[in-house]
Symmetry: C2
Amino acid sequence: MDPRAKVYEIVKKFSTTMMVTLGPENRPEARPMHIAKAEENGQIWFFTGNSGRVANEVTEDRYVLLVFQDERSSYLTLRGNARVVEDRATMKELWSEPYKLWFPGGLDDPELTLIAVEPLGAEYWDNGG
Amino acid sequence: MDPRAKVYEIVKKFSTTMMVTLGPENRPEARPMHIAKAEENGQIWFFTGNSGRVANEVTEDRYVLLVFQDERSSYLTLRGNARVVEDRATMKELWSEPYKLWFPGGLDDPELTLIAVEPLGAEYWDNGG
């Protein structure tokens, strides 16, 4: 199976990934991020707050590690370059109402922005080996 | 609820965690690690290969991030200091047969060693928020 297709097959089972960035003193930190869209070509989209920690950290160092952990089946890590994207058309395409929990102003929320992660490579394990 | 008890309650549901270390050029990397033992006091034990990448990386920089992701309930990250422990009595206590998959020589396998992670702090999210 094409490795890119295999990665996509795993990623699309997840609604959330743990995004690892480098915090102060090069300490890795991670937080759950809802996946707004995973494209078959590999790019993954997220909403985030434009003054928040994730947006700041990927602006300082765009390298991120996405961790996908599902004890019943598989483990995947995906290395990628992240960038903050201010694209109103894509926001509109990817928006759904549950995001109001984090962005009460909806599509007009001044904090709302997008992060796109372009994959550099991935590793997967089928049984935690 | 005591935060330490809450962390223990989450950790003990997992058989595996994603251990994040710093690889070359300060790039975070992660791999699934089977949890040999999670102690109520917070310390977590793993078997690993003593010439392997994890043992080398925690010797260079003992800071690790443990990521626990379960889409059905919760997300936890635990920051900690790792150390390689060559303690035959603890190895014997924590050993179980499935580890032969990675250490065919069993308790006498020359590669077999332990890593203990002492928690520094944790964050958890109940619904991926």
